[in-house]
């Protein structure tokens, strides 16, 4: 019997195709590559031309009107207003300090190793009061600044961060209520969650600004900022509840049964056994949710609050600069939102990897 001849030499399968083959391997691929290069070159040409070559770097609004490129003086002149809004000019170091303090503390808190009860306590007892005192003043020799003067980036962070932080306990409670054995409580939780998730955020903001005053007894008025904040908290709570529910469902039933067998009370089982496991699982989706909420707070500009997008827009409408720097303003705002969202997105992916490698 003739020996079996192999026409192809056996060897380990090739692991990766060289990049040159991926770019030009087939005629179709080569065409795609050429097209992409062309598109990128065109984009780069437009961007460089607008941002650098044709741009006006110093001068007055009149200089910008003549030039066809980007108007950098606009950013220089309006930067402080866009970031801090109508906060008194001399006092703007306060929101700046608050912003730095918040971002620094947030950066430290992002390290999973440092998560502890102490950190949570530090936020609640030290950081948040300190931030509030910096913004509002009225004590320690700081002049009082009413919340109607707050605006810009600090306000955007405040609305989204406090919104999510305060919605967290409410969302967990709603998720537990939705899983409850008691039908009346379950129905109440489901109706709240589904109604809030079924309507747009803007309708809740309208509810808060137009209708809430009617719900208040005579003489009681609530600050507009607080009303919007309440609407955002309720909105966030419904979405958090759904995410937490996913985490609760991922905890094996045996854990609850084991708790029951030990004779633990429902609340103890939840607090000590189920929630710690469930919450750990839902941290990455919660970070993604936070990115969404940071972007959704822009909606408060529709009800007339001066968040970052709104201060940018009113800077564009400044009589001196009107119609000159529209693109510049929006692109600057887009750049700021993009930077924060992309960083948070990278953090969310890091957390997912971290959990995959260190847990389970």
């Amino acid at each position: 019997m003739a020996e079996l001849q192999l026409s192809v030499p056996l060897g380990p399968p090739r692991r990766a195709r060289p990049w040159i083959k991926n770019l030009f391997g087939t005629p179709g691929n080569a065409l795609i590559t050429m097209f992409c290069v062309l598109a990128l070159a065109l984009l780069a040409k437009i961007a460089i031309g607008w941002l650098l070559i044709d741009a006006v770097f110093t001068g007055t609004p009149a200089d910008c009107k003549v030039g066809s490129g980007a108007c950098w003086p606009f950013l220089g002149a309006k930067l402080r207003y866009m970031i801090f809004g109508f906060y008194p000019y001399e006092e703007q170091w306060r929101p700046f300090a608050a912003l730095l303090l918040f971002l620094g503390a947030a950066l430290v808190s992002m390290v999973p190793r440092l998560w502890s009860r102490g950190l949570l306590l530090a936020w609640l007892v030290v950081l948040i009061p300190a931030l509030y005192i910096l913004m509002a003043g009225g004590v320690l020799g700081l002049s009082a600044v009413p919340s109607s003067k707050w605006g810009g980036l600090p306000l955007s962070f405040m609305l989204s961060f406090i919104g999510l932080a305060a919605a967290m306990p409410l969302g967990i409670a709603l998720a537990l209520a939705r899983q409850s054995d008691l039908p009346a409580i379950r129905v109440l939780a489901i109706s709240f969650i589904e109604i809030v998730r079924g309507v747009p955020l803007i309708s809740l903001l309208f509810l808060a600004t137009v209708m809430l005053p009617l719900f208040m007894p005579e003489g009681v008025t609530i600050d507009k900022l607080l009303r919007a904040q309440v609407a955002i908290i309720l909105f966030a709570a419904a979405y958090i509840a759904e995410i937490v529910r996913g985490g609760l469902q991922a905890v094996p039933k045996g854990q609850i049964e084991a708790g029951n067998a030990l004779g633990l009370h429902y609340w103890l089982i939840m607090r000590k056994i189920v929630l710690p496991q469930a919450l750990k699982k839902v941290i990455p989706p919660l970070v993604s949710l936070f990115i969404g909420f940071f972007q959704d707070t822009t909606l408060v500009t529709i009800i007339g609050l001066l968040d970052f997008l709104d201060t940018v827009r009113s800077a564009l409408r400044d009589p001196d600069w009107q119609g000159i720097a529209v693109l510049e303003g929006y692109l600057f705002a887009a750049f700021v939102y993009f930077t924060f969202s992309a960083l948070m997105g990278a953090y969310s992916r890091f957390l997912e990897r971290y959990y995959r490698t260190t847990h389970d």
């Binding site: 290069v37 409580i185 309507v199 803007i202 309708s203 209708m211 997008l309 529209v326 993009f338």
Partner: protein, 382 residues
């Protein structure tokens, strides 16, 4: 006290408390509201829906005049909301499908380009994009006085694109039925042809026949003189262009913004769906000698689409709700019309209740439809 340790009693007690608190809070709110409304002389009830609206709506999907009722105005708002969200969902899905497939390409350049597209859209607020597109449209296009005449009687200016519009002298009803008949006939012919092809393995011309069935009835009707059409030609005046079909920049900006945001989300879902398909499917198809493009089109995508339906439902619900951002750039959707109604009548509670109910109702309808569709395409495992 022993009663309190009884599990059943405690369950009842908790529920009683919860419902009680909600009812009391509701009653207190109702009492304060009616008190406040009475003091401010604001009428209550839904009677105001029959009153004359008296305001203009710049874009009407269904016929509307100033003299129509407020209820009719709200209906126009609903129609506008549905129109823009439906179009955005369709456009966004098509773009998203292409981008998602591009993200799975082996070509690293195309892959990165598509990734940056998705990232640029997902990391910047939709509202900012709406303002940006709207601003670009207004800045880039000339004022009405200097409207560009792209073709005879087609004007482009910063108040929008104006086209000649069709009006039917007669036969509008026939035409509608002809179109419906064509669609139904084409659908059944294609299905039978496909069925026969699966049975016999022989290629047939089902697609061509279906196409003729689709256009045939309309063509026949037009050739036989069943319809008479006149063009309504827009006239360029000094300040505005009258007549014709008017596509406004608000609508275009909203449609572009919503479609792009949908496309980014759809692209991510397409990617996840394709990645979820077992690698063996690729290898089996390659072993059969199919090219990579065909593998994607004939083997991978049909299976991946099935997985994508539930997350797509969420995207369509989101775009429907996000269409409410229309108010920021002045497209008269349900929220914007409601806002006008609130300002005119002062009946905020009823108006907000109506638009929240409409959003809830339509959200439920979308969910039900997508669940039905999901049930149809889902793999029935035996």
């Amino acid at each position: 006290m022993t009663l309190f340790y009884d599990k059943r009693f405690r369950a009842w007690f908790y529920q009683f408390c919860a419902v009680g608190i909600v009812l009391i809070a509701g009653w207190l709110m109702f009492a304060t509201v009616s008190d406040n409304l009475a003091k401010q002389n604001i009428a209550t009830g839904f009677g105001y829906l029959d009153r004359q609206a008296g305001f203009i709506i710049s874009e009407t999907t269904i016929p509307y005049q100033e003299t129509d009722t407020i209820g009719r105005a709200l209906l126009v708002g609903i129609a506008n909301t549905v129109k823009v969200s439906l179009l955005a969902a369709i456009l966004g899905t098509i773009i998203g499908l292409l981008v998602g497939i591009g993200r799975m390409s082996r070509n690293p350049l195309l892959q990165r380009l598509m990734l940056s597209y998705v990232e640029a859209l997902r990391n910047v607020p939709l509202l900012l994009y709406l303002f940006l597109w709207y601003a670009i449209l207004l800045v880039a296009l000339p004022p009405v006085k200097e409207a560009l005449e792209l073709a005879p009687h087609v004007y482009l200016s910063n108040s929008g694109l104006v086209l000649p519009s069709l009006t039917f002298e007669k036969g509008a009803v026939f035409l509608r039925w002809a179109v419906i008949l064509g669609i139904i006939a084409a659908f059944f012919i294609r299905r039978t042809a496909l069925h026969r092809r699966v049975e016999t393995g022989q290629p047939n011309h089902g697609g061509l026949v279906a196409f003729f069935a689709l256009v045939g009835p309309v063509l026949a009707l037009v050739l036989l003189g069943g319809v008479a059409i006149t063009w309504e030609v827009p006239e360029a005046g000094r300040f505005r262009i009258t007549g014709g079909l008017h596509i406004r920049p608000e609508f275009v900006a909203l449609l572009v913004g919503l479609s792009l945001s949908v496309s980014a989300s759809v692209a991510e879902i397409v990617r996840a769906g394709i990645q979820a398909i077992n690698k063996g499917q690729w290898e089996a198809a390659a072993a059969l000698g199919l090219q990579r493009g065909r593998v994607m089109r004939l083997v991978i995508l049909p299976q991946a689409l099935r997985l994508m339906v539930p997350p797509l439902t969420n995207i369509y619900l989101t775009v429907f709700k996000n269409s409410s951002l229309a108010i920021a750039i002045g497209y008269p959707d349900l929220v914007m019309v409601s806002n006008t109604v609130m300002n005119q009548t002062g009946q905020a509670i009823e108006t907000i209740a109506i638009f929240m109910a409409v959003y809830l109702g339509l959200s439920v309808a979308i969910s039900l439809f997508m669940n039905w569709y999901n049930g149809r395409v889902a793999l029935t495992e035996r």
